[in-house]
């Protein structure tokens, strides 16, 4: 096979290149190498066979300072053009099995809350970059009438950004990554960044579905892994039938994140809120950087944030319905 290598993704948090049937990932330069090694070892652990895509043996680093590189077999991803074929049930089954597996060795915390915090920081930075009138002048002082015109896409008093920040502040400290997850919610193996781009069939094209991307995996609250689909459903982005398929499959496989029956939302509420805030924050940061308005899907998540901001968790998780 002599096709030229192909760049599959190139973001600050990782560059992914495919060559033939091998995929190489260069992780971020500031990656915690010890934590990454534990996460990659998890994907290789026999207890996780059939759940996580196992890595290929990686080459020794080119230099101690080089970005760490991991190698993976090529899998077939979810078809983004065919909603009907999205593997909601398979994703939920994989998560349930992951969450039910006892951590085979000590692992770092799942990074979901840390990623949510990073998204909000990114939004704040993007808003500051778009609104600071003069270098060195704090944004709060730039109301001066002599300030040059602001970037129109997102303003400091933009209601969308205020909703994101209000929703963020209403979250408990553990969901903002400020303190460890409470013992009664934590201790489970988690993926940490579930979305439809995190599933491949291996061997391609007809092998079983497996979870990929261990960069955020670790121990934590398993409801976090259900939080993104839950957030999409709550925002009106994920159809109720797809959400039902996902949730029912998770429960059928004995997943521990939600009770076996009854209302799952007391368990899902905080992670779904956090992932709504995270998604809206990333969307607003992108809009500010690209000087554009939110698209239709981003708008649904921003509207969801606005509702979250008006309804703090203590109201939403009152007496069971």
């Amino acid at each position: 096979m002599c096709e030229p290598p192909q760049v599959l993704a190139d973001r600050p948090d990782g560059t992914v290149v495919r060559s033939g049937t091998i995929v190489a990932k260069a992780h971020a330069a500031d990656t915690d190498r010890e934590a990454l090694a534990a996460r990659i070892a998890l994907a290789a652990a026999p207890q996780l066979a059939g759940i996580l895509l196992p890595p290929l043996p990686a080459p020794a680093p080119a230099a101690p300072t080089a970005r760490p590189v991991t190698l993976w077999p090529l899998g077939a991803p979810v078809d983004p053009t065919d909603p009907g074929a999205a593997p909601w049930a398979e994703a939920a089954d994989l998560l349930a099995r992951l969450h039910r597996t006892k951590p085979p060795f000590p692992l770092p915390p799942m990074r979901g809350p840390a990623k949510a915090a990073r998204a909000v920081a990114r939004m704040r930075a993007a808003l500051r970059a778009g609104t600071t009138a003069l270098p060195g002048v704090p944004a709060a002082l730039s109301d001066d009438v002599t300030a040059p015109p602001r970037v129109p896409a997102v303003e400091p008093r933009d209601p969308a950004a205020l909703s994101v920040l209000a929703g963020w502040r209403a979250l408990p400290p553990w969901a903002r990554g400020e303190v460890p997850v409470p013992a009664q919610r934590g201790g489970f193996l988690c993926h940490g960044d579930l979305h439809l781009g995190q599933l491949v069939r291996h061997p391609a094209p007809d092998g079983p579905w497996l979870l990929i991307d261990m960069d955020d995996a670790g121990v934590g609250d398993p409801a976090w892994d259900l939080g993104r689909p839950a957030a999409w459903y709550a925002a009106g982005l994920l159809a109720p039938e797809d959400w039902s398929v996902f949730l029912d499959a998770y429960r059928s496989a004995g997943g521990p994140a939600v009770p076996a029956d009854g209302d799952p939302w007391p368990a899902l509420d905080v992670p779904a809120r956090a992932l709504t805030v995270q998604t809206a924050a990333v969307a607003l940061a992108k809009c500010a950087a690209e000087q554009r308005d939110p698209d239709e899907h981003e708008q649904l998540m921003i509207e969801s944030c606005a509702r979250i901001a008006t309804l703090p968790p203590e109201l939403a998780t009152g007496p069971a319905s």
Binding site: W232, A239, P240, R307, L311
Partner: protein, 100 residues
């Protein structure tokens, strides 16, 4: 599943404008949890402040229960209305479902 305190029929959960309410299948009475009346009042005052140019027609309570649970802050369309998601499934299936 809750039982109606008045006629003891089964109650179903609906989401009206992001507030979760229970409605009795028998007498159609409505039960609000702690804090939900305040949430509705707050939504009403926001609605009045926003003064939308063309408010959508009020939605009737669904005759058949939609059954699915949703958070109190869920999108208003979670009240039921079969068929609403036919196009939505396609519409919602985008880049966002594939990225962090």
């Amino acid at each position: 599943m809750m039982q109606c305190p008045k006629c003891h029929a089964q109650m179903n959960t609906y989401n009206r404008n992001g507030v979760q309410i229970e409605q009795c299948n028998g007498c159609r009475g409505i039960f609000l949890d702690y804090g939900e009346l305040e949430s509705l009042t707050r939504l009403e005052s926001q609605w009045a402040q926003q003064a939308p140019p063309a408010p959508p027609a009020p939605q009737a309570y669904p005759a058949a229960p939609p059954a699915a649970h949703a958070p109190a802050w869920g999108a208003p369309q979670h009240g039921g209305h079969g068929g609403h998601y036919g196009h939505h499934r396609q519409k919602g299936f985008g880049r966002m479902l594939f990225s962090s």
